[in-house]
């Protein structure tokens, strides 16, 4: 139990780190990737729902506290997306890298769509502009970085398997 709490705390600090220092370091032309989606998708893909759901909730919460006005909205959307990703994980064959990348892209696209729509109260004039100028660059950047993260995750799994086989 204590170890689980420590792991969740570390996850929360990791999310905060990604949202502050890493986001600033990786920003290109003012566009930062959505590390929240990457973290949530990676956790959901690798863990059981009993771990993935609270982790997604915590990650969403930590990222959301930077925007008190919409506090809770991003958490709810991220949590719902985590649940959807979980369902897809159970029903789809995600062994191929491309499938997981599509899943990540879909998750980020869904987040951007729901979040911007709710945050801007479905004002279509603003949304059109926001989707093109804000959401699309973030989606592309998040997809690229998320792909790299998934590949690194695969590589570490392969190394572990190799070590286990060798041992």
């Amino acid at each position: 139990m204590a170890i689980s709490i420590i792991k969740f705390l570390l996850l929360a600090y990791l999310a905060a780190f990604c949202q502050t220092i890493l986001a600033n370091l990786t920003a290109i032309g003012g566009v930062s990737p959505n590390f929240g989606t990457i973290i949530i998708v990676l956790i959901v893909l690798k863990s059981d729902f009993q771990v993935a759901f609270p982790a997604a909730l915590l990650t969403g919460l930590v990222i959301d506290i930077l925007n008190p006005e919409l506090f809770g909205l991003g958490t709810a959307i991220r949590f719902a997306i985590a649940a959807a990703v979980w369902e897809l994980k159970c029903k789809m064959d995600l062994k191929r890298l491309a499938a997981r990348v599509y899943l990540l892209m879909g998750a980020e696209a869904a987040f951007q769509l729901f979040y911007q729509c709710c945050a801007n109260r479905f004002d279509l004039d603003i949304l059109g502009h926001l989707f093109v100028e804000v959401s699309l660059p973030i989606l592309l950047y998040t997809s690229v970085l998320g792909t790299v993260a998934i590949m690194i995750g695969d590589l570490s799994v392969k190394i572990q398997i190799k070590k286990a086989g060798g041992g």
Partner: protein, 265 residues
Amino acid sequence: MKWVTSLLYRNKRFSLFLAGLLFSLTLFALPLNQKTFVCNVLQNIFYWPYWSTAGIVAKVISVHEVNTALQAELVRLKLERITFEENKLENERFREMLEFLPVAEFEIIPAHVIAYDQGRRSSSLAIKGNRELGRFLPVVDESGLVGKISASTGRVATVSLLIGPNCRVAARDKQTRSLGIVKWQSGRDLYLDDVALDNKVVIGDTLISSGLGGVFPKGLIIGVVTGVSSKPSRFFREITVKPAVDFGSLDNVMVLKPKSEPSGD
């Protein structure tokens, strides 16, 4: 109600999803002031280490930037100070020159030395004035007479120095009023020629231009008598003169342009 709880208990995943979603939406539904309070507390817990680190890094970076800027400013100010010092010295020299120059009869043209004669011993130099410089005009600095312009091409002119063979000056002993011709023969010293044996000239006397030659106005300091010898077999005294001007460190000079142009030496 009982069947709902049993359904939730049996479907753990759905229960967890529902609980998380309700929790998030409850947070979203809170009044803004309460949300702000919760966010501030959580921000202090989770973001404080990064913000404080980022603040320290930003301070360090800014210190480095400020240091670089200050170093550049220091270099700039040093250069400016050197320029100011140069200007101050130049100003002092010009002031000294103006004190003894016959301002009323002459137009004073400031000039600076742009080249020295390339021989072993300089007997001429090139100057550049801020106006057109004519031939045979006297050139002085704050110490005294430098020479005369021997050739001119507009603002640039060649000056025949007093310590050269092409410049002779009608001189007068400031103390005894004896007349003579100051000319160069060899070495760094000048000679006062044509002073009769019965004229009294002593070591330490100051020689000034007499104004009789037509080129140099009277009263310009030429130098100081450093040696006097009298041989009965000769008609004139042998008088050596140390020039007042340090010809090795000439920088700014003045060209005196009379109202009526001189015709030559």
